[in-house]
Every structure is written in C-alpha cells, then in structure tokens.
C-alpha cells in the first residue's frame, strides 16, 4: 500500500474491492432435517440438502452462475443504484438500511440481471438476492427487470427470472407499488413479441412480486417447498381466524390449485428449462 492509499479513510480504500466471503466454519446444519452438512459439498449441491432434498436459499450470483453457461456473461443494469427519494425514516433511515444491505451483500440492490447462454442458447436471466432487504422490489429492481425484458426483446432471447422476495419495498412507498405495473407492462410487451418468459418462484415469493412479474410466466415453475402467495400466512391467519390448511401456500399446494406448471428440483433446473425453451423457440433437440 502506498503512503497515499494509507492516508485515505478505510471506507474509500475498500470501495470497489470485492469482499471475499470468509467461511465461518466448515460445517453447517440443514434448516429442515438438521443433518450436519459439509459446506463445500452443500455448495456443490447448489444448497440443496443431500439428505432430505430441502432447497435452502441461494444467493443471486451463485444461482445465475450455476444456471448459465460459464461464458459469455454480461451483467445488465449494474450501474443503477437506489436513492432515498422520500427521505423515508422509520426506526432507521432508509438511507442507512440501503448502505447496510449493500455492505452485507456486496450488491447495489436486490435483483441481478445477466445476459448469457443456457446450453448455448442466448438467454437473459434475472435473480433476486433475498439477503438484500428481503429481496424487496423498489425502483432499481423494477428498472433492472425492465432492462432485462428490453435486452430479451433486442436479442430475441428468452427471459428467465428466479424470484425470492417478500414483496414491495415499503421504504419506497408508492414508487415501489408502481414497479408492479412497470414490470407487468414490460412483460406484456415481451408477450406481444412472442418471446418466451419462464418464471421460477423460489422460497419465498410473496406480495407485490408474486402479484406481478412472478405469476406472469408463459410457464410458471417453482422449486420444491417454496412459500408462494399474495398475503403472508400470518396476515391471513389474523384475518380468517382459522387454522391454515396443511402445506398452505407451498409449491405443491400451488401446483395442485393450478397456479404452477411444474415443480423442478434446483439441480435439474438447467436441463428442464433448456428443454422447455428449445421447444418454445422451435429449436431441435439438444
């Protein structure tokens, strides 16, 4: 480090440098069956418990890296950053919540979009980062999603979105609600252009995200056991004052009630989606 760099406050010095995830330990516990799992192996298994097949949450980058071909990959909309237009303040300032989330995740906001290939087929893929304020949808998420749609139209490439979100971002108030209209309107354009869109709902996909971009797939897919719904189970329980049915709002429940086309294991996601998209785009079998 040069003498000049040493003079800079640490905040400036570390900017732009990607923080490495320091492993806390080598072992972790399955959140469903409590089996003790070797972290490296779990990661290799795409965060799916090898003992009980429970699908744990997976980060947006890891998701996209495991889904797309390694090369080529170009990120879309990375330059967009959230602003606190309303000077929103609850028990904490929104501004502080943003910077906290940015530090914790090393992301600027809760949606990552990549242009790339799926088994050599050009695609655009988006994934929600649930660790960024619960994957909540604010203006940046909405805009990045729209840019994903625009890129798909431009390249005549199918769009895939992996959602994991608690819903709209309250701190952006009505701006966040309007992202539901914005993302849905963009998808309506995509549909006009007859470009396929596969929505993959992962745990959890709720509220404003569920009631907009997530439910509008030409094909709606979910991972096993994901919580998917409009209202949260607690709100429903408080409203209806009766016990919720077994498995309520889980993927299997939604499949049974006709909201989904299929449930796909994360480890088969690449193969299954590539097959579906090849048929929808009338490509020959791989």
């Amino acid at each position: 480090m040069s003498w000049f760099e040493k003079l800079l406050p640490s905040k400036i010095r570390t900017e732009g440098v990607r923080k490495k995830n320091v492993p806390e330990g080598l072992w972790t516990k399955c959140t469903a069956c409590s089996a003790i799992l070797y972290k490296v192996e779990l990661e290799r298994n795409l965060e799916v418990c090898p003992k009980c097949n429970h699908h744990m949450r997976i980060g947006a980058r890891q998701r996209l890296a495991s889904f797309l071909d390694p090369e080529p990959q170009t990120e879309i909309g990375a330059e967009l950053e959230p602003v606190d237009a309303l000077k929103f303040r609850d028990s904490k300032k929104y501004k502080d919540r943003i910077s906290q989330a940015q530090k914790a995740t090393d992301e600027k906001d809760a949606l990552i979009v990549m242009k790339g290939q799926l088994k050599a087929m050009p695609v655009v893929a988006a994934a929600f980062e649930f660790k960024f304020m619960g994957g909540s949808m604010g203006s940046v998420v909405g805009e990045r999603f729209v840019r994903a749609v625009q890129a798909a139209i431009e390249d005549n490439a199918p769009l895939i979105c992996f959602s994991a979100s608690g819903g709209a971002r309250m701190q952006e108030a009505l701006f966040s609600l309007m992202q539901m209209a914005k993302t849905s309107a963009a998808l309506a354009e995509l549909q006009e252009k007859r470009i396929p869109y596969i929505s993959v709902m992962t745990d959890p996909t709720m509220g404003g995200v569920s009631a907009s971009l997530a439910m509008l797939g030409d094909i709606n897919v979910a991972e096993p056991g994901a919580l998917i719904g409009f209202a949260g189970p607690r709100v429903i329980q408080q409203t209806v004052r009766e016990t919720l049915p077994e498995g309520f709002q889980r993927s299997e429940f939604l499949l049974e009630h006709g909201a989904l086309d299929m449930i796909v294991d994360r480890r088969e996601m690449r193969d299954r989606l590539a097959g579906l998209l090849a048929k929808l785009t009338r490509r020959s079998a791989a």
């Binding site: 940046v140 309250m170 609600l177 309107a185 309506a188 909201a259």
Partner: protein, 321 residues
C-alpha cells in the same frame, strides 16, 4: 344530517350542536335569534375551513375511510346515467366487492369498474369491506376486455383497503388475478381513466389502477401498504400508524407533487360526504375533461404514451462504472 364527526372535527361538531340547539329554541321562543344562528354558522364554516386546510396524512386516511364517504355506486348514480350492472367472472362466481358494467358519461357509452364497500353491517359483510377476491379481479378483466372489443373508454373507481387476504383467495390465485390485470391494462386498446375515490390499498387497488390518467379525490389515499401494516412491520407497533402515514406520503397532494398522480379533484368543504352531489359534479367534470384529452389520440399513440408513463415510474441513480 348526522355527520359522524371524526376526532379532529370535534370543535366543529360542538359548534354545530350549539346551532342545532338554538334552532330548537328559536322555533318556540319569541325572540329572534336567527342573527345569532347565522353568526355561528359563519364561525362553523371558517372553523371547518381552518381545520381542513391543514389536515395531516393520518387525518386524511380517516377521511378516506369515513363511514359516510360516497362509494362507487353513489358515483355511478350521480356521475353516470343508464348504468347496467354486469356480473360474474364466468369461471367461479360474482364478487360483490367489485361492481362494474355499462353506463353513459355525458351521453357517451363507457365501461365502469369500481370497488364497492358496504354502508351497514350486513352490506359491509356482503361487500367484504371492499376487499376483492380473485373472481372480482377476473370480472374486472372481463369487462376491460369488453371495453376494448367495443371501443368504449374504461373508467375505474378505486376504493379498497386491499385485496382480500383469505384462504380461498390464495387457492384461486389472488396473485395471478392481480398480475394479469396489470399486464392487460398496460396494453388495453382503449382509453383508461382511474380515480382513487377513497382508499387506494396497495396491489388490490393497482389491479384496476393502471391507466392513461390516474386521478385522486383530495381526501383519498394511495399506498403500498396500510399505515397500520407499515407501522407494525417497521416500527413494530401499530400505534405508530400516524408516523407511518406521514412517512409513506399517502395523500393526493404528496403523490401529485411526486408525479405519481396526474390530477387531484377538489372535495367540498369538510369532505365528499358533506355534499355528495357537488363531489359527483367535480368528478364528472374531471372525467369528461380527461376523456376529451384522450379522445384525440390514435390508439398506437395512446398506447405509446401509456407505456412511456408506466416505464417512467421509479427513482434511482445511474452511476457510470
């Protein structure tokens, strides 16, 4: 007329009570007290003016939910003629929390869709407190598509605490029903004018709220979450609803300043319920003016402008890398 005064209207209520008493005395006493009554009435009016000139967001939320506030059917009766209500989603049932059908506005045929609350207990339950289920949104979609097919302008009246959070609603795809409407409205090949007449409760409101013009009555609210809901999540206490209402900026004035709403429609002094006819007059005028503006546009131009409007929603920065 009993006006169900809200807390912050108590000084007005007391004054009005005094006037009422005087009137009572006046009718059987010899002394002429009409001058005194006129003086007090003047005082009541200026008191109302002063109280209503500085309502905070939480007080406006109370106004938007006022038990006497005019609902969709009240406006259908007053702003429109020849309303034929149409029922059912053709799939599952008819949802009384959303009313809709054909009507005339200033003689011109239109399709109207509105969320409907109930006035008395029985009606409130029948209307599910204005909280639509998926079948309500699907009925709305059917009517939207009909409006497009027959080239009729679509007018929506928004007044809901939110989409119903129930077991059946989830089973029948509440999310899909809302999402589909958003997509359909964005591409509907006919003019759409949306007006928030009371509560604009989140996705449940937006599901009939995507259009070429979005207007709000001055004491209506529009929000991503109810102030109570927001307070209990972010402040961990529903008591903080007043702070949440302020922070969320749910009022017509604030949302107009932010560019999220195109027009604010004035309410009569003391709110829409004090003079529903005058309110309906203002609403009709605003609807006609908006329709006139849109009628001149070709369909591709209408759709282009709508898409541009929707795509402009959001505030963020773009940092060159």
């Amino acid at each position: 007329m009993k006006l169900n005064y809200l807390d912050f209207e108590q000084p007005i209520a007391e004054l009005e009570e005094k006037i009422e008493e005087l009137r009572h005395v006046g009718s059987d006493a010899e002394i002429n007290i009409s001058e005194e009554i006129a003086r007090l009435e003047g005082k009541s009016r200026s008191l109302t003016e002063s109280i209503f000139s500085s309502l905070n967001a939480w007080q406006i939320a109370q106004m938007a939910r006022h038990p006497l506030r005019p609902y969709s059917l009240d406006y259908l009766e007053r702003c429109f003629t020849e309303f034929d209500e149409l029922h059912g989603d053709r799939v599952y049932s008819d949802d009384p929390a959303i009313v809709g059908g054909l009507a005339r506005l200033d003689g011109q045929p239109v399709v109207v869709i509105g969320q409907q609350k109930g006035r008395d207990t029985k009606e409130k339950i029948r209307r599910n407190f204005g909280m639509p289920r998926p079948e309500g949104y699907r009925k709305a979609r059917r009517l939207m598509e009909m409006a497009e097919r027959f080239q009729l302008p679509l007018i929506t009246l928004i007044d809901t605490p939110g989409a119903y959070p129930g077991i059946g609603a989830e089973e029948r795809g509440q999310s899909e029903a809302i999402a589909r409407n958003l997509a359909v409205m964005s591409q509907l090949r006919t003019p759409i004018i949306c007006t928030v007449i009371g509560e604009g409760g989140s996705g449940g409101a937006l599901a009939i709220g995507v259009g070429d013009r979005v207007m709000m009555l001055s004491y209506s609210t529009y929000s991503v979450i109810s102030p109570e809901g927001c307070a209990s999540i972010l402040w961990k206490s529903a008591e903080k609803a007043k702070d949440a209402a302020e922070a969320l900026g749910i009022t017509s004035k604030r949302l107009f300043e932010l560019g999220l709403v195109d027009k604010v429609i004035d309410e009569p002094l003391g709110g829409a319920h004090r003079d529903p006819d005058a309110m309906a007059g203002n609403l009709r005028q605003a609807l006609c003016a908006a329709l006139d503006e849109l009628r001149g546009l070709s369909t591709p131009e209408l759709l282009r402008q709508r898409q541009e409007k929707i795509m402009a929603f959001g505030q963020f920065t773009s940092r060159a890398k």
